[in-house]
């Protein structure tokens, strides 16, 4: 089975644990996941310098560098094929910030399993299309 490199960025250990379990369930029969977890924007950028990710799922409200900035860096440096922002912030101005930062998907919490599954498939298809892994 193919393997996808996934980055989860959330300062909440509970939320990260929950998201990881949801992702692993959604990935069943699709791919195995190699998951890296980061609690801050800074940790995320360090991880992205070491690993090229197929999918990065970022919380927006983080200590230090926020999710929008991390997203922008990952997209500019092409360090992740798909970047999803996962947040409870749902104002139009926040969505625009996400779009300006280049995110592929802006997901409003609570996590919708169908959306998560689609995002995972998107990452899978992108990884397949260039014949990697």
């Amino acid at each position: 089975m193919n393997q996808l490199q996934v980055l989860i960025v959330d300062d909440s250990p509970t939320a990260a644990l929950f998201l990881q379990a949801k992702l692993e369930a959604a990935a069943e029969n699709l791919a195995t996941l190699a998951i890296t977890r980061a609690k801050t924007g800074e940790e995320a950028l360090i991880a992205a310098n070491e690993t090229h990710f197929d999918l990065a799922i970022l919380d927006v409200v983080l200590p230090g560098i926020d999710g929008f900035s991390v997203c922008q860096t990952l997209k500019t440096k092409q360090q992740s094929r798909v970047v999803a922002l996962l947040t409870a912030l749902q104002s139009e101005s926040d969505k625009k910030k996400g779009s300006d930062a280049g995110c592929d998907v802006y997901i409003i919490k609570p996590i919708n399993e169908a959306t998560l599954s689609s995002v995972l498939k998107l990452a899978y298809i992108k990884a397949q299309s260039i014949g990697v892994r």
């Binding site: 300062d11 509970t14 644990l17 379990a21 609570p110």
Partner: protein, 216 residues
């Protein structure tokens, strides 16, 4: 996917994280007010809201959402309201931790029982919207013995809270009350405020019952 063991792990992660966040909020509330303080409080309450929502603790989620909204406004007047909500959340989380400890002693208790019991207790102690009710009740009770200028100032605080929570019709009614406050005695003003609240669709008799209970 959510096995019993996973739910228990999630619940443990939640109580650990929530306790840490409450400590951070407590420290931040003691700091001098600034945009940085407000931003920190917003972030902490936002994290609390997110984790409480994952475990479907509705009242806790709602309380944290109210605090997050107030903190995000950045206004210094929100500090006392944030302190008040913080105390409510602390009590709720203490209950959750106590329940968790108590039920963990019974090997037959599964995670669903744990979560259901916590939710049942949560709803019996605090119904929907009661954090908001508490906030308004606190101001109503504080009316006693205050002069009209202080009463008006208190109503203005409630107007801002109503605005932030997007209860715009209540905000309009309360603004009218402040404009006409010179026409009333202190007792009349308190009575009119109470009338405005109990006739409002978001408050109504539930609020009246809550207020009378708090007054006793």
């Amino acid at each position: 996917m959510q096995t019993d063991q996973f739910k228990k792990t999630l619940l443990t992660a939640f109580t650990t994280e929530a306790s840490e966040l409450l400590e951070q909020i407590s420290c931040t509330l003691q700091q001098e007010w600034s945009s940085t303080t407000a931003q920190l409080l917003f972030r902490h309450f936002h994290s609390l809201k997110g984790t409480a929502a994952l475990l479907e603790f509705e009242n806790l989620t709602q309380a944290a959402h109210l605090a997050e909204t107030l903190a995000r406004s950045g206004f210094e007047w929100t500090r006392s309201e944030l302190q008040y909500i913080f105390e409510y959340i602390t009590r709720s989380i203490e209950q959750i931790i106590n329940n968790q400890t108590e039920l963990a002693a019974y090997s037959s208790a599964n995670a669903d029982e744990l979560i259901n019991r916590i939710n049942m207790q949560e709803s019996s102690v605090e119904k929907e919207k009661q954090v908001l009710f508490q906030l308004f009740t606190k101001h109503l009770l504080n009316f006693e013995g205050k002069n009209s200028s202080m009463q008006s100032s208190s109503i203005k605080t409630l107007i801002r809270a109503a605005d932030l929570m997007e209860i715009s019709d209540l905000s309009v009614e309360l603004s009218r009350l402040v404009s006409a406050s010179n026409d009333y005695t202190d007792e009349q003003l308190q009575q009119h405020l109470l009338e405005q609240l109990i006739t409002h669709e978001s408050f109504g008799n539930d609020f009246l019952n809550f207020y009378q209970k708090a007054k006793q």
